[in-house]
């Protein structure tokens, strides 16, 4: 934990002296913070009584690391950053001057070579290096690949920046194909390619895209209309349960229920919006939060309908527009129709394209709406509600349409989620989900679709990637589960990114109309709304 001590008081001290002092402070504070929580651990003994386990060694390590980290930061990193005049660049995560040092051709070649060599040797790594080192080697390979991709992106940054949307959409569209082809080449068989793609398409692709869709939906409410909604997950839940209940009880198809779920969520959006329209700022925040909790508690407790925490399962799969199904037993099962080998990957890939389509629909509607009077009115509402009223804009209906539109996309995402999972349970709709979606919207830069998509990729992809770090078990012992640290790191990443870019990745705003030339509006002019 870094602690900032105001630098003004140390005009005389050299950076190293200052760093030394701050390191001592940081160490002392870390000691205070962690002495009980890391130094001791409460555990249950055989007779189920709590006992304390001492971990002084770990405590000492953490305290020393904190002090050293602080020392290095104050003594070297701060002056270094100051000397570089770190200015943000829109494309990269690193400042330009630093990035040119970091991404160099020799490194790039080295990374390619390492990645390639380790890919070729993949099968025999365990035999060559033993299981421990093989784990590291795989990690190194992943790093090398990431570095190589990042270098390529860096070299083509201006091109990428100019054609971000087109490139992004085509990359997303090609993603499953690339994954299947790569893995097919890697394993040497098409079936292997499909089988291996499950994780990549489902855990990464679909998972991230669900969050992208939710965040884009919430973006309408928060980013455009400036209404702080902390209970967005409620609409997600409404959509999911609408599909789950109607689908299991009446056997209706996904394609009918998708719009129905959206409408229902929009209806709930209006229901929520109506009473709370007069509320502003943080009052609105708490009521929306309360609304989210109410929905969740009702889902838990209304057991006759929702089955409570016991979840609703057996939700029908989505069919390929009724033409082909993804149930192996059906006569029109896709593999039978197309005469290919049976695999569960088809359904996942289909779902991937389905959620991609839904995301693109959200993006399309958002972009269109922004150029329509209603979208402009949302943004104007965010900027100044009183001025809106003086121009004859009905702020009540404007707010309600924002709530309803945002909720509708949440409902779409919810029914997709139910279809993908095959079951729904109230645990999926806790406040944490709202918080994550909100964080993605703000981290991405309110109102910016591209920024939000990048934020979802970084935050959700990053935490999903932590599941992959199994080799760490070898380092820290078999009890170590990197997944446990997932949310800890997620929380810390939220803080760090926000401190680094308080306006999110993309702080600027694209105007919706122009006379002569389209100029981006700097984030310092846009307001964030009071509602």
């Amino acid at each position: 934990m870094a602690v900032t001590v105001s630098p003004e008081r140390d005009v005389v001290a050299t950076p190293v002296q200052r760093a030394f002092r701050e390191a001592l402070y940081a160490g002392a504070i870390a000691l205070g913070l962690f002495v009980l929580f890391i130094g001791l651990r409460t555990d249950q003994n055989i007779s189920n009584e709590l006992i304390l386990v001492r971990r002084w060694g770990l405590l000492a390590l953490v305290v020393v690391l904190t002090a050293v980290g602080r020392f290095l930061y104050v003594a070297y990193a701060q002056p270094f950053a100051a000397s570089l005049k770190v200015a943000d660049v829109a494309t990269g995560l690193l400042p330009e001057s630093m990035a040119t040092r970091f991404f160099r051709l020799p490194y790039f070649i080295a990374a390619i070579v390492i990645a390639f060599a380790l890919l070729v040797l993949a099968g025999s790594l365990d035999g060559l290096l033993g299981p421990d080192l093989a784990g590291y080697a795989r990690f190194l390979r992943a790093l090398a690949i990431i570095y190589a991709v990042a270098s390529v992106m860096f070299y083509f940054r201006s091109f990428i920046h100019a054609h971000f949307s087109a490139l992004g959409v085509s990359a997303l569209a090609l993603y499953p194909v690339i994954v299947v082809l790569t893995l097919a080449l890697y394993t040497g068989s098409v079936a292997g390619g499909f089988q291996g793609s499950l994780k990549w398409v489902d855990n990464f692709g679909i998972q991230i895209l669900i969050y992208v869709m939710l965040a884009w939906g919430l973006n309408i409410v928060i980013g455009l209309a400036g209404l702080l909604d902390l209970g967005y997950v409620a609409f997600y839940a409404v959509g999911a349960y609408a599909y789950a209940l109607l689908g299991t009880h009446f056997g209706l198809s996904f394609w009918i229920l998708l719009p129905a779920a959206g409408c229902m969520a929009a209806f709930w959006g209006v229901m929520l919006g109506f009473p709370v329209l007069r509320l502003r700022g943080d009052y609105l925040a708490i009521v929306t939060l309360a609304f989210g909790e109410i929905i969740r508690l009702v889902l838990i407790n209304w057991r006759e309908v929702t089955n409570g925490s016991a979840r609703i399962s057996g939700i029908p799969k989505v069919s390929f527009f009724g033409l082909m199904s993804f149930n192996v037993s059906d006569p029109n099962y896709i593999a039978k129709v197309l005469n290919i080998a049976t695999s569960s990957a088809y359904y996942k890939i289909f779902l991937y394209y389905l959620i991609l389509g839904l995301c693109l629909l959200t993006a399309f509607v958002t972009i269109r709406l922004r150029r329509l009077p209603v979208g402009r009115a949302w943004e104007a509402l965010r900027e100044d509600e009183i001025a809106c009223r003086s121009l004859g804009i009905n702020t009540t209906t404007t707010k309600l349409t924002a709530f309803a539109t945002g909720a509708m996309f949440g409902g779409f995402a919810g029914s997709f989620f139910a279809a993908r999972q095959g079951f729904v349970s109230p645990e999926s709709f806790v406040f944490l989900e709202s918080a994550i979606v909100l964080a993605i919207v703000v981290l991405g830069g309110m109102g910016s679709l591209a920024g939000i998509a990048v934020a979802a990729l970084v935050m959700i992809g990053g935490t999903e990637a932590l599941r992959e770090l199994d080799f760490l078990k070898r380092v820290f012992g078999p009890d170590f589960t990197p997944e446990l640290y997932r949310m800890l790191l997620f929380g810390m990443a939220m803080v760090i990114v926000m401190l680094w870019k308080p306006r999110g990745f993309v702080g600027s705003r694209e105007p919706t109309a122009f006379l002569k030339e389209r100029k981006t509006v700097s984030g310092s002019f846009t307001k964030e709304g009071h509602g």
Partner: protein, 300 residues
Amino acid sequence: MQYFVQQLINGLTLGSIYGLIAIGYTMVYGIIGMINFAHGDIFMVGAFTALIVFLILGALFYSVPVVVALLIMMIVGMLLTSLYNWTIEKVAYRPLRGSFRLAPLITAIGMSIALSNFVQVTQGPRNKPIPPLVSQVYTIDGISVSLKQIIIVLVTAVLLAIFWYLVNRTALGRAQRACEQDRKMAALLGVDVDRTISITFIMGAALAAVAGTLFLMYYGVVVFSDGFVPGVKAFTAAVLGGIGSLPGAVLGGLLIGFIESMWSAYFSIDYKDVAAFSILAIVLIFLPSGILGRPEVEKV
């Protein structure tokens, strides 16, 4: 009638704990206008600190008088929890002061996630039960009042009195009120704004730590995720009472406590939280600034 009084007492106990936490929300909101989402988890850290101190005391001494044990738990809890809140303010909120309004909200949510998961990682995800500290129960007229409840209400009352004195009668309180009104002007008049804000966080955390200790004593169990529900309830209480107003926070806490105990007694225990949240929504529809909050005047 007896049943009703009994529920009233239960509600008062619960409400005291909510009130103590709610003060932390309302003070921070009053002074820097942000929702300190991590406050619920600060409360949880307080409860955990008390738990660990209790275990240390049990390990070091053969027997410690309950009053002394409670006192030590509270004091150590207050110190360490304050340190947490102080650090969080310095690291996560101060650099963002005066920037974008949602940025500190996001760091607060991030801190809340990080804190509860930190405790989960370091202390394990299971429930942590302790043997009952105080178990006397007095029965008057068929109404049973446990000593635990008496302690909770008494401690809350004493703390509120001290707190009221601090805010209304000392230079520190004056500085806080000045910062609340106009931070820039207060700074111009020589109030150390940073320090005042830090102290506000420390005070809020200290009260939350006491609430945590009392919570641990009352329920005898704590778990890493315990910060969220009491945190949200206390926040609800603060808003219900009118955020920014200290008597409002206490009043809101008591109201939420009463609603919960009455609802579970007379209607359904499953829906007690739904009742609390619905009443919040209803109250805010008619009093958009809470019960004791100042009505916001729209400046045209």
